[in-house]
Structure formats: C-alpha cells, structure tokens
Symmetry: C2
Subunit: 393 residues, 2 copies
C-alpha cells in the first residue's frame, strides 16, 4: 500500500521547482566529463567550454530580446541575480550628490527582493517605498508614479508573484518610469523578478521596458543552481563577488558550463508555440481544479485576481482550516502542494504576500498554493480533490 | 589526421578544472527529475531533497572534521565561498570600536581572495598587510606574527597555491594566530582557500586550526558550480546574499540538490587510501615529467619549492620563451596546459603569483603550468614532451 502511494505520488508544487526535462539532462551530459574544460582557459579544451557558454548566452539573449551578449549574466541562482541587481545598483549610487538614494518596491515581493532591500535600508544606504497592491494583488501603476523621487535609483516589481501567481502591469509601470526619467537620465532603473514568468508570459525586455530582469532555470524544467540576469547595456552596478572577472566581471566564478547549457536548452524547449499550447491546457486545468475545490468546500476564496494570473497557479484560502495540516495530510497521501514559498516554508511564518493583499494572518494560515505542471492531468487533480475532501471532513 | 589528434587529446590542466567522475555523474542522476523537490518544502517531495542535502553535509563535515552540520555551507563556487568569508567578516567588524579593521593576506593568493580584499581596502573598510613569500613561494609564519595587530580581524592564506602548487605551513600559522588571540577573543579568524588542496592534503580543520575554509567540487572530480565554506561555530559574518534563509542564512538560494550530492560523492571517492595511492603515483609522474623537460630544455627553472608542493603540479619557466605561444602551439597539437590561472588567462596579464615570489615579469610570461590528473599516464607525458620539444626548437 505504501509503495503504491509512492508510485502514484502527485506533485502540484511546480512554482516551487520543476523536474529537469529529460532533453535538458541530455544536453548537459557531454559537459560532465567529455567537454569539461574551464571556459576561462585559452587552450582548445577551454575554448569548447567558452563556445558552449556563448551559444547558451545567445539563446537567452534572443529569448529576452536583448541587444548584446554581454547583457546576459549567468548567476548561481535567481536569488543571486536579484541580489546583484538590487544591492549592486543601490551600492553603486548610494549617497550620489551627498543624498541618500531611494528605491520603490512592493510588499508582496519574493524574500530575495525584500530582504536585500531591507538590509540596505537598515544600513542607511537607501529609503524605500513599499507599495501595497490592491486586494486582487495588482499594483496600481499610479502608485509607482506617486512614489518616484529625483533620488530614486531603482524600482523593483515582480512580473508574476511566486505565491499567488498574479501578473503585474509591467509595461505600464515601465512607461511611467520612462516618462519620469524623461529619457535623459537612465535612472531610475526598472528591475523585475521574472523567475515565475518565463514559462507563460512575454519575456521581451524591449516590449516590457525592463532594465534588469531576473530569470531562473529550475522554474522552467532546467536545473537548480543556475540563474540569469538581464542587465541593459550602460547600466552601472557594483558586483557582489570579486575574482577572476568571468561574466563580464559581474559574477566571477568558474563558469558552470553544464548547467548553463541546460538552462539554454530549457529555454529552447519553451518555444512560443509550445508555451501557448501548455498555457491553454493549464488554464483549463486551473479552472477544472478550482471548480472541484469549490464543489467540495464552497467557502473557499481565491487569493488574488483569477484573471490576471499565471495559468498554472491556484492559491486558495480555506477559511477556518489550518493549511499546514492540510499540506501535511496531503503529503502523507502522496500529494505535494505548498502553503507558501518553499524558501520560507520552514520558518512557518504566515505568508507576507497574502497579508500584503489585505487578508488577515488567519487567512494566510489557511491558504494552500497548488501549482500545475506540464505533465499534470485531470486525473491527478481528481486524486488531489479526493484526498483534500477526506481531510476537510 | 585532425580527428586522430582530437581523439588523442591530452589534458594536463587539472588544477584549472577536472572532469566529473562517472560515479559522481551517477550519484547526481536521480536528482534531476526523480527526487527533484525543493529542499525547502515541507512536503515529502521536498523532504527527500533536504535529506539528500543533509547527508551530503554530513560527508563534508566528516571530511573536514567539523563538529556540527551547520559549520558546512554550500555555495555556488569557491569564489563565492572566498568572498563570503572575506567580505563577510570584514563588513561585520569594520569600524568596531570606531577603528578601521585590519586583515593579513599574501601577494600570491587567488584573485577571488585578493580582489574582494582590494575592493574593501579601496572602500576604506580595512587596512591590509600583504605578505610576500620567499623565493620558494613559502610564507614565513614569523611574517604573519609581525603583521598581527589588535584590530586584525582576519588572516587569509591559501593552503596550496593554484598556480605553483606550493603548500603553506598552515598549522604553524594558525598556532601563531591562536597565541596572539590568547584564546580569549576569537578574532582574528584564520581563513584558508583550500580549493586546490582537498585531493592531496590533510583537510582536518582541527589539525590545521582553521576557522574558515573554502573548498571546491570541480577541482576534485566533482561538478562545477558548487563550493563549500567551513565556518566554525560562533563565527560572525555578514552574508552577501539575502533571501529565503537557506544554508543557515549564510547563502540563501534554492539548494542545488544534484550538485550538492555530486560534491559529497566526489569527496567520498577521495578516501585517504585512494588519495595516498594517487599521491604517490602523481609524485612519480611529476618527477618523470620534470626530468624529461630538463632533458629537452636544460635552462628551465621550477617556479616555487619542489619539495613543499602538490604532487600533480609543475610550474616551469622556459627562459626567453613566450609561454602563451607554447600553450597555443601545444593546444594545436591537442595538448592542454596553462600559462596561469584559467580565470585570469583571458586577461593575458603576467602571473602575479610568479612575480609575487620575486621573479620578473619576463619570467612570468615564460612560465607554463602543467598539472596532472588521476588518469594521466607516462605515455601522456611522453607525448607532451615530444610536442613541447618540437615547439622549443
């Protein structure tokens, strides 16, 4: 019985991480011990590695619509990319003209955006305006306009929220920022954490008007331990790491050739066509799952806009229920869902995102995140619903 | 002919990076898309990942003789581990009691030690004493004693040099530091970059008296993109990254489960027994290669001590010859050697290490690094010698 459960485990936590696509595993394979040279070496063994890295960089450049290879920086994670962008810009411009810098973000960002900003705020390097989204989780671009100041160096708004999947009006926000900077100064820079978005949304940095964009491989069926930062040409920032000068000096370290190659392969698999097909399927499965959940527990509430939302995400409040107990009960039945971001789930703090959209701490403690993946089926959702129903009785 | 050369390529740049051991590739395999959960998730899929990370941490803990799991931090690279140790400690203690801190290092350290220190020196956070080793590349522990000051927070001396392979008297240096701190204050901390050492030397942090130790997977037949920092319990430092709190808050980011598992497997393969067997073989091959080189070009000089040296390393000056041309010529013949650290080889600057031991810029430009690996044979060395001889004519 136990082994049967093991076999039939159902994973519904794709926003936390995804399995690596078998094609990605295959793409990485030659780089473990055949083409294994250090991409920084001049000799032939190294140059093969460098070529693999440059080819991968070209894939990311095209995917994001960047205009030069050097606008793409490979990092060790999306957390690192966020930290480089935020700490890097603020530390570069802190006390320019003797004035403390200013930055704008929202209360629902990922910890790897909020924590470095808070750290620099505490250090006295920056004043920060934290925008509160409306109850549907959407940031009003006018709030950004009101918050802009002459000393604002950075605006950071996540493209699609990691917990509630709500999509922000990035192009509208970027237009406001461009209007404000009047095209003369390039400051403030506009950063967006797009770790959750690449699978579903337009990632073209020109369309979006983005200066700094964070992406992640392990959210799109690539490997963990590799992230990317788009950094528009001309942007100035202070690196976090110093060393051998790799990645244009922005992220020195021996280049992680296999994972860089895997990241690029994962992106190639996300062709617009396939992406859209999966988008439609995910939307249908999302609607199906929500309907079923409402059937078994009519009191549920969806956290955040259902319309402006990633199609694989459901974040649902079960009023009066303890989400953590549901999560553990589901896990015992072989079903993996989340009660918030994986990175903070060990801390057992109620979600700052759900509270950030005006819900109570109690609501936050009663909310489950269900995120679907490429291989999720109706049958998986039915099994999840059956198990959930048993737990809700 | 060309394809034959390709087939018979001889890699003699193991200090730059190593191929991943097939057993390591095998160990990582289940974690790509079977046990792929986020190690930060509470559910069963996540807990499997967390267990794999904890098991790997246990392997590193035992290998280094650490006393607690939380003394082992997984990072994205040895460069990152060095930066966390150096920036982390200095930023934590800068201007303690209103006084600028002080740190001690040597002029022959890896760029990922020297560059962050220089950066903090330029920022005015720290005064740095740069110790110059003797002509054999060895740091005199008495020089460290003379440099220690009440405001010294950190001493960083690499265990074995990445370019010339010279081994430093780490235990003697640590005794001097312990004497100075009088066992009362824990400062100054003693950091050692041991990226090159794990294959060959005693890595027990108690024997060595180390507070902070950097290690790397891809120098010991593990994957690129994963490093480790031993950080003795009670040490205080400021992290570089902020986010989800992973790795005890020292290096937040979704944990790179496959590469962490691979790192541990690479360390398991380095059992003392096998290590010693390879040590002996490497020593014989090193002697053989040196003898052959001296035969074909009697004017050569070994850079740094031959006695206190990693057994796989030869760094040799060919007076009057341009090392870069030799390197490129060898590469064209399918033989990969180095003219310095891979990370700075693109910059074409003459080695600061070779100049740091009192040689001229010209000597540095005439020096080749040949580093042997587990599968290197006498026959490989013979082929290298034949090719080198053709180029030296």
């Amino acid at each position: 019985m136990e082994s049967m459960k093991q076999m039939r485990r159902i994973y519904l936590d794709y926003a936390s991480t995804t399995p690596v696509d078998p094609e990605v595993v295959l793409a990485m394979e030659p780089y473990w011990n055949k083409t294994f040279g250090n991409a920084g070496s001049i000799h032939a063994c190294g140059q093969e590695g460098m070529k693999a890295v440059d080819d991968a960089r070209e894939v990311l450049k095209n995917f994001l619509g960047a205009s030069a290879l050097r606008e793409i920086i490979f990092t060790g994670s999306a957390t690192e990319a966020n930290n480089i962008a935020l700490q890097g810009v603020i530390q570069r411009f802190a006390f320019r003209n003797g004035k403390k810098t200013h930055a704008i973000t929202t209360v629902i960002e990922h910890p790897s955006v909020l924590e470095p900003l808070r750290k620099m705020e505490v250090k006295g390097l920056v004043d920060i305006t934290y925008i509160r989204p409306s109850r549907d989780g959407i940031v009003d671009p006018e709030e950004i306009r009101k918050a802009l100041r002459p000393e604002t160096v950075l605006v950071s708004v996540g493209y699609a929220n990691n917990e509630i999947g709500v999509i922000q009006p990035i192009s509208e926000i970027s237009k406001i920022i461009r209007d404000f900077s009047n095209g003369i100064s390039k400051l403030p820079y506009f950063h967006t954490d797009s770790a959750q978005a690449a699978q579903y949304l337009d990632m073209n940095v020109e369309n979006l008007g983005i200066d700094l964009m964070t992406i992640s491989a392990h959210k799109i069926y690539g490997p963990k331990g590799i992230g990317g930062l788009f950094m528009r040409g001309g942007i100035e920032l202070e690196p976090l790491l110093y060393g051998g000068g790799q990645e244009y000096g922005i992220r020195p370290s021996t280049q992680n050739v296999p994972l860089i190659v895997g990241f690029a392969r994962a992106i190639e698999i996300l062709t617009p066509k396939e992406g859209n097909a999966w988008n439609d399927m995910a939307k249908k499965l999302q609607a199906y799952a929500l309907e079923k959940i409402q059937d078994i527990h009519p009191a549920v509430e969806v956290n955040g806009s259902l319309e402006h939302r990633l199609p694989h995400n459901l974040n649902i409040c079960f009023p009066g229920k303890e989400a953590e107990l549901l999560l553990i009960g589901l896990s015992e039945k072989g079903i993996c869902v989340s009660s918030g971001a994986a990175c903070s789930s060990r801390s057992q703090k109620p979600s700052h995102v759900i509270q950030g959209i005006g819900k109570t701490e109690r609501d936050a403690r009663s909310s489950l995140r269900i995120t679907l993946g490429r291989t999720t089926t109706k049958n998986d959702i039915d099994r999840f619903i059956d198990s959930l129903q048993e737990l809700l009785l």
